[in-house]
Symmetry: D2
Subunit: 342 residues, 4 copies
């Protein structure tokens, strides 16, 4: 059986990544693509790398007949997303890739995003989309909120450790290295090749990055108490890939065992042999997440490193994984492609 | 029906690319992987991006039971390849990715490669592996010689034009821009990130690049007379992608029509609308080749530009396409993945 | 004696490059920096790499007291530049880096740039700024028009050959590879790291690039007849560096001799030994231009390749070289820094 | 007065960087260049970017008449360096860029480098070359041991804080991002463009990087007690630049004040306004170090980030700064060039 899929916001990177992935999916068919400012254009004009595909012409959201759609991906900016989703049919299955439905607490949303939430009804029913930890809820959900790409990476490294209490909850430091596609197709000087290539810097320093809202919510939830991590993202001269280096206090071997146990049987999470370091080079273009653990020379300290592709496992791949669950398909369907190396 | 596949020389880039592609192939199964100097290692140690795959341990060629193999890819260096292939079972289907069986004339081989050919029997039966132009021969072949990656790109741009006589055969200039993976996993100073990134240069200038042997052979064959092109490759700070800019004399519209007609129905060759320029950005990681044609401001001159991924359409993807034909599978099987962008 | 310098348009790349160079100049002092939209900001906010310098605050052009300025660099967009320069004091020495005063023929200007020229008086007195070929005129000039960066590179490769008639004037093909800083600090999707890195493409194909106006003017002038070259630029995933590959007909040895003779004694032009290929890696950040010549395997054909840094020798370094001449300083003053490698 | 300079190991990156810098130095003259395996070659063959310079032919060390040399830079591998230096004239001024004379304790040297020290006499007299903290000792020294590039960066961020006791000495985490030129001109697969570009990974995880020997020695010395930091380096897809992100406990404002005070008047160290983050983009090719401080959202925690160019301020620039002191020149001589951006 073929599922009819709509993608709203198809002119951004996560939209294009969804098309890339779904083009190889055995039972999904893209029935509608929206891009308000580029409505009327062909996808091949906006993304020439997709020119071999026979895709619907880009349209405005209002032109889509959602009664013919089985599942809708929203790859719109936050704030816009909640408005659009509030207006969609209430029975339509939706995977939202924006930040709008990630935070359970509207006050937390307003704190991190600066605007009040205007779709509280939908926000209430939304399920947090970190597939490996919300699988059953996602399978039963109508609306799934895709996670932040940094938030996903940090959680893959730390969530089982916090849940099992094998690390000191008050001493977690997360140093993240992010590729530039995480910033989207934004026209900013700092994202130009001339200004980004060949160098790197921290940004959103001091605990101001919005994905901290997700860390706070999820880590506190699994710990059963407030957990606040120290989190500093760095912008890298690369297009895809997040490397999260977590500095934690605890027994490194226990930490490794905890992660290995937590991810046993997971199709996309690979816990490396103890002492090995993962690399974003080895996950590019794929839905895999590699995790490594090592003991520091200082007794009682460990390093946990997670690597994934922000556009795939960090957003569009995760979204497809969730959609598979929501539509009763094999969770890995369309997602087992190997990374691209070199 | 599942075909058992062996890959000889699996520790190089084209070997790893074959594994990447075949891992998604519905009816191919990798039964043996050789890498003489890395025998005994797991593929995941040599190429950690493939760690999610359940692959045979790397072995020496002599350890493979070829009676259980339906088709063997040889991704070995030239000269080694001919020796290995000469010693393989005479009925084994083989796709060779080296230069050893590309040239029909042993004297031409010796001229370009500097050593006499030592497997003339096999050389005689080998079919040149440019799928779009040797489809029937390849389907019937036992031994197929994969083309040079530069040679493939240049031929996609020029071959129909030479065959149809729509350009001046004595005035063809081919300026090629090649990504570094075309040089293989070679330890040379000039291929280090520190020395290659952020700059570019021509190499093998003056008509000394070995792929000229293929151009001379194939272009002369289709023209029915000697055709020598002027060919200068340039090394680019990128990992995948060949852009061939061909400067030709002829009517640009006729040239565009000739190419469009030649590639009608071809699943992997996309001729762009007249006047548009292709980009290697739009074919990365895929088996597609994009071709553009424009008229120069100077009357009677045209530019033909072809873009492909050297590791996919330029070598391992082409090899798989040929293997599909040789084993009676759909030619596109395992090869329709979209390019990776960004 | 110290010369007081003003730079108009200091918030662009060529402006910043001028500041970088002049900061090391023994007898130039930057007295004023303008940037209309960033007036009131410090240079260190716009370009943090210059934070060690004690620079004047960015101002509007109208705020500069030009009676205190010995020479003014205009690093403004074309069209704006002519308007600004027409309004500056008529005795002020000016080096203009825009396209506005490069073309002698106002009709040619209008053809290539799409707008009529509105500063014909200044246009008449302007001297074309290709230092090595207009040295005496520049030393005596009030207004010098810096060349296009591509135009400079192509002329270094070809100008002596056209002047001496050692190549066929009707068969010149120029395939250029340009770094992205040549496009300036422009916010365009194609210049984003995510879209530019790791790939390449031709642009302005078919003879539509504006620098052809300069080639036509200068090559025709030195040839004493109309000369039209075929010119195709390609955008490279690198920040600095132009590589011009010229395909010409003529005797390669004569060509090499002609170039070697033409550039004897030139401090910035290095003609490599016959058969060697230059690389943009070896001129980055410097004012040098490397030129190589090789014979093709086809009798009577040669390749001439020139490499320079578009921001230095291709624009701001050239501008400083010209300013040195105009102010009676040593032509090489402030310009002898070695390239940055790696 | 001109000082005659020798550079041993001129075929590596730090050797080439020394030549780049010294070529602009007003009173240094390169009198000898050694490179054992490339003896007899011209520097322009080994590093074509230096072809404009009139340099001595590369020779073997034994061929140099050290009686004519005022100061010798040793840019040799560790272990080799100590042997060579032990055999040089005992009165020759030397700046060593290797690791051989950095550690005061021979046992520490053997622990981190794996071989016993064989030049203990020289080791005793060597002065640690972190200019800003050993200025007077360096001016009086015969033999100065250049610091590790990572060690320099971490110390610029942390040393005043440890000396003044404004941070918790037992809770220092240093997450370092290093460019690839720090690995030298080594032929390793992981340093190839194809394998390094577009991704990143930690290495030497668990506190095994050799520069920890320097951190332990220097931080313990200034603290007057044992101080062990947790240090994890990451390899970046860039050629130049180290970014050290230090996670510390203390009052962020005090930390900023402490650093600002410590570096007042320092010509090369720039402490940014509170809350700003430095970038390696803004120091490339220069001898500057930019340092930023921010408070984390978690009370009592701060982030200190330092950025410098590993080949300049991290090694060859530092070496020249030290040589200036040793020869009585202005410390900044030949070192005030602005960074290269973009």
């Amino acid at each position: 059986m073929t599922h009819k899929i709509a993608i709203l916001g198809a002119s951004g990177y996560t939209g294009a990544e969804l098309v890339r992935l779904i083009s190889q999916h055995p039972s999904f068919e893209i029935a509608a693509l929206s891009a308000d400012r580029k409505a009327g254009m062909e996808m091949s004009q906006v993304f020439p790398h997709l020119r071999h595909l026979d895709m619907p012409t880009l349209c405005k959201i209002g032109e889509i007949d959602f009664s013919q759609i089985d599942l809708c991906f929203c790859a719109l900016p936050h704030k816009t997303s909640q408005e659009v989703i509030a207006a969609l049919p209430k029975t339509l299955k939706i995977v939202d890739l924006s930040a709008d439905f990630r935070l359970r607490d509207p006050a937390a949303y307003e704190k991190w995003y600066g605007n009040p939430h205007n779709a509280l009804e939908q926000q209430t029913e939304a399920v947090y989309g970190l597939t490996e930890f919300y699988r059953n809820d996602i399978a039963a959900a109508r609306l799934v909120a895709g996670t932040g790409c940094n938030a996903a990476t940090g959680q893959f490294a730390l969530r089982p450790l916090i849940a099992d209490g094998v690390i000191d909850l008050d001493e977690i430091i997360l140093d993240l290295k992010c590729a530039v596609s995480g910033a989207g197709r934004s026209l900013k000087e700092g994202l130009l090749h001339a200004e980004l290539s060949e160098g790197y810097n921290a940004y959103a320093i001091g605990g101001t990055h919005r994905h901290l809202g997700e860390f706070d919510q999820e880590f506190s939830k699994v710990a059963g108490r407030a957990v606040k991590v120290q989190f500093t993202p760095h912008l890298m001269p690369a297009n895809r890939g997040i490397l999260a280096t977590a500095y934690v206090k605890g027994d490194a071997q226990h930490i490794h065992e905890c992660l290995a146990a937590a991810y046993t049987g997971e199709p996309f999470i690979e816990v490396l042999p103890f002492g090995e370091a993962p690399s974003t080079h080895h996950v590019r273009g794929s839905n895999f997440c590699h995790i490594g653990v090592a003991a520091d020379r200082i007794e009682g300290r460990a390093i946990v490193i997670a690597a994934l592709d922000n556009l795939t496992k960090g957003s569009s791949g995760q979204a497809l994984q969730n959609a598979n669950l929501m539509l009763g398909e094999d969770e890995t369907s369309g997602l087992m492609m190997a990374p691209l190396f070199p």
